[in-house]
Symmetry: C2
Subunit: 196 residues, 2 copies
Amino acid sequence: MARKTGSHSEITGPKIRAEAQRLFARHGFAAVSMRQIAAAVGVQAGALYLYTSDKEALLFDLLKTHMDELIAAWRAEAPAGAEPLAALEAFVRFHIRFNLERAEVVFLSYMELRNLSEENFAVIEGLRKTYETELEQILMAGQAAGVFLIPDTKLATMAIIAMLTGVNTWYREGGRLSRATVADIYWDMVRKAVGA
Amino acid sequence: MARKTGSHSEITGPKIRAEAQRLFARHGFAAVSMRQIAAAVGVQAGALYLYTSDKEALLFDLLKTHMDELIAAWRAEAPAGAEPLAALEAFVRFHIRFNLERAEVVFLSYMELRNLSEENFAVIEGLRKTYETELEQILMAGQAAGVFLIPDTKLATMAIIAMLTGVNTWYREGGRLSRATVADIYWDMVRKAVGA
DNA sequence: GTCTATACCACGATAGAC
DNA sequence: GTCTATCGTGGTATAGAC
């Protein structure tokens, strides 16, 4: 017996997060209304509050989950005990691939931080810092081993991450270059930039 | 005889743009109301419409002016007939300096493009493309002359601009490094990245 | 050129029926 | 768990007095 209403919490919860992510990425957090999200999910606006305490919590949940998954994915993939050069190459390829696979939420992570409360902002910033430190430690190890020639590992960390994340702003599926080719080219530039 | 009301259009116009830029950069275009802008300027909300046709036109005016000034400033400063290596160094130092000097509107240019109408978006994108082409031509000239070793000048253009613009996300006045030192370090990394 | 006043609409969030 | 209905607020933009 199909019915129009009833219990769908296992479907509705993830669907709300998915639609919110899509709409926030497309139009911006402040420009998207709870009514729009509800319409995209197929429920009434009031029903959203069964799954989230308020609009900001919805954004924070998306960003927090993303950062946790980013760090966990890198740590699962990082070659243990590898030489700095191999570790750096792994990082470059991982960052480009992971960010292209999750372009929407990556975009959110860069654009919508200021819509978080002070406490929630600090949480996301801390996770971002944790991720950046993973790269910086590779650079420092390579510098100490004499295989990299980097004037400042802190600035090199920021420069490399900005450069890699920038791929998301112009890459289009089905364009001139495949993801693998883009990764090859960026790895070439990063390798040279650190003097390896 | 001072009077409370009267003609102030020569002051009010620029003041509206300045306050709008500050508020848009701080809170995001969609999150700032016309009432907030008016309050910061010291007029009533309705008075803003003497200077702008609507809220989006205010944003477009800021971005268009910025892009025009960016391109004009670079063309005024670009060393005429210089070697590719010198031209690239000039570009790197110019981009970092100009963007740090105008951090607010640069931030807007990256964050608020989606709040423009289709036509206005195309105008800004065209100007951005024009600016990027200035760099790409330097890279192509150096590649042709054999002084650069770049796998793909298009990607190198995007990578370098992303890397340089990224300085704006972390640089704080009075921090560990001066602007000049930051420019030195970034120039070192860019120079190596292009194989020079 | 700026003001007050306001039209009109959409917002986030909640209450209570089913 | 979802619905309808609604509260209170604040949004953009305009009208008309001064």
